[in-house]
């Protein structure tokens, strides 16, 4: 680089080359994200828009698709008692499942983070059920919850408690599913454990010097430091909880909904409408109502988060 580039002759090609390089860069970027983009357009956005339209029709997948305005929604809110039942069942499930799993996951993670010998083994044991899923696990729980030969009632009997009929008693079907969910609380635990290990040790040392006790330290250091993860966990498990389906489908004899419809959850009802009677317009309407409910709850969660979620290094 001995000679300085003259303004007119050399700078312009340089600039053009940089532009084309930027363009080439951008082009490559689009190529890299294109699989996602194509998928998003064709199997997410497109279908969603279609289903939004379908929810205002009497679509039945084969012959008809007439615009019926708000007909599906009117029917849903006024003429379908099972809709309200299913919404009620789902709210019950979410209202108990989300707080319980969160509390258990945090407690387990805090206990595992105490520097106990054998922490890795405990971690493996508690996480194991979280990797197990699918029909095999549901069958296992049907046996565990079996009123006469199951493990749970056997143990309860041993300590002198007459266990309920679980999946055969309308009052106990949802608690059964929640207990099953609690068994696999290890996934959330692992998330909390990872974030607990990120809490700076100096904070605890400083608090200890100031004479803060165990619970004080938990309440004023541990808990605030992991609130972002608690928030994330609550949001995702609320969304997940509203979609409870498989366990209810498998454990209530292929979607019959259990005793007195106590296991007819929102998605199970939607499933039966869509794929048993092919009332697709109605089912897509239900899907959108669920979407709006979940969105509203997520927004509420986000607003509430300002009050209790602590972000290190200020607001984001």
């Amino acid at each position: 680089m001995n000679e300085l580039p003259t303004k007119t002759a050399a700078a312009r090609p340089m600039k053009r080359r940089r532009l084309t390089m930027e363009r080439r860069e951008a082009l490559q970027g689009y190529v890299f994200v294109s699989p996602w983009l194509i998928g998003f357009l064709f199997i997410t956005l497109g279908p969603m828009l279609f289903s939004l339209y379908a929810s205002f029709t009497n679509y039945n997948i084969t012959s008809r698709m007439d615009f019926i305005g708000l007909g599906n929604f009117v029917r849903m809110f006024t003429a379908d008692s099972l809709f309200w039942k299913s919404l009620g069942n789902t709210l019950y499930y979410v209202a108990f499942m989300v707080p319980l799993t969160t509390v258990f996951a945090v407690l387990l993670a805090v206990m595992l983070n105490q520097g106990i010998p054998g922490m890795r083994i405990f971690r493996t044991i508690f996480y194991l059920p979280a990797v197990l899923s699918g029909v095999g696990v549901y069958i296992l729980w049907m046996q565990l919850l079996s009123p006469s030969t199951g493990l749970i009632n056997t143990v309860l009997d041993f300590v002198g408690i007459a266990g309920p009929a679980w999946l055969f008693d309308p009052d106990w079907t949802k608690p059964s599913l929640i207990i099953m969910k609690l068994w696999s609380v290890g996934g959330g635990m692992l998330l909390y454990l990872a974030s607990l290990q990120g809490v700076p040790k100096q904070l605890y040392e400083a608090a200890e010097i100031d004479g803060a006790g165990l619970f004080r330290r938990f309440r004023t250091i541990t808990l605030p430091m992991i609130t972002p993860i608690i928030f994330f966990d609550i949001v995702t498990s609320t969304i997940g909880g509203f979609q409870v389906f498989q366990e209810a489908y498998v454990m209530s004899e292929s979607g019959e909904g259990g005793p007195m419809n106590s296991m007819v959850f929102y998605n199970l009802h939607m499933w039966n409408k869509a794929f048993e009677v092919f009332d697709m317009g109605y089912a897509t309407g239900m899907a959108w109502v669920l979407f709006l409910i979940v969105m509203a709850l997520t927004v509420v969660n986000l607003i509430l988060a300002k009050k209790w979620v602590y972000y290190e290094g200020g607001d984001r």
Partner: protein
């Protein structure tokens, strides 16, 4: 004064050590109790799968089988009401395709979002994250209609093709890995004249092998345990996967718990084995999620 303070101090620290020891003991007892509760269903499953039916019905139930019936496993697997060998092959085929497709697509897409500048990148990535909030059923019904119109009913295409388009959570995880790689490495390769495809294949993918393993394991689990997909799209009994097969087996065997437990255990076995051997990749994935959400 000096001596007195010394003993007070020592007593104080002794007290602290005692408190610490007590705390650890209590926690250890709770954890051991918890482990017993967590593991007992699995033990119960193994034990039930080895008992004869009379022993299962017996009251009070036994925690250890009196006589061990390995033949329960053979009988369950070869039951005329099921085609487990066939279903295993089907499931293995689908799982291999899904794992390969999703490892490739997610690593490819995530690199684009992590390391290449293009207009609209942050917007598109926000859309990726937003799709995680969409309940599955909202897209599932219209997807079903779409795949039905494409004539894909009773084929494995609806189970495999979507994994070619990546999934939001995996893209998010892999992007985190890519971001931790210094840009200088890419710039140096660019100066040498390499384009992004070359850099991705030759430089980046080898560097993020652990992350790729994490994605491979997660998507293996997803495909192996997929119940909804095959339930929707596969009707022919010969084409069932293990999950759907197990569900029908449950229907025909009703309360033959020894066979049901044996069959369930065999279906769960690959997942358990994978977890035991590659546990650190599961934990890696979780650490990353926690680290970035915090």
């Amino acid at each position: 004064m000096g001596a007195k303070a010394q003993t007070a101090k020592r007593r104080y620290y002794k007290g602290l050590a005692f408190q610490e020891g007590l705390r650890k003991t209590v926690v250890a007892i709770l954890l051991i109790g918890g482990s017993v509760i967590i593991l007992s269903p699995i033990w119960w499953m193994i034990s039930t799968s080895l008992k004869p039916m009379e022993e299962i019905m017996q009251y009070p139930p036994t925690f250890f089988p009196k006589e061990i019936h390995w033949d329960n496993y053979v009988r369950a697997w070869t039951s005329p009401a099921a085609h487990f060998s066939r279903w295993l092959m089907n499931t293995a085929l689908i799982t291999v395709c899904v794992v390969l497709a999703s490892v490739f697509s997610n690593a490819f897409i995530a690199y684009g979002f992590a390391k290449i500048k293009f207009p609209g990148r942050s917007f598109l990535f926000a859309v990726v994250l937003a799709t995680m909030m969409i309940p599955g059923f909202v897209t599932m019904i219209p997807q079903y209609i779409l795949f039905a119109k494409l004539g894909w009913m009773n084929t494995y295409w609806p189970l495999i093709v979507p994994s070619l388009f990546g999934s939001a959570f995996f893209i998010f995880l892999l992007r985190q890995f890519f971001m931790s790689i210094p840009n200088e490495l890419i710039d140096a390769a660019k100066i040498d004249g390499a384009n992004h495809f070359y850099i991705w294949l030759r430089l980046m993918v080898p560097l993020i092998k652990p992350a790729v393993a994490t994605i491979a394991i997660f998507s293996f689990n997803g495909a192996w345990n997929d119940f909804l997909g095959p339930l929707l799209y596969v009707n022919d009994e010969k084409m069932y996967t293990l999950q759907i097969g197990l569900q029908t087996f449950k229907g025909t065997e009703a309360t033959q718990w020894h066979y049901l437990m044996a069959a369930s255990l065999m279906v769960l076995l690959p997942v358990i084995a994978l977890f035991m051997f590659f546990q650190r990749y599961f934990i890696e994935g979780m650490n990353l999620t926690a680290g970035t959400k915090g």
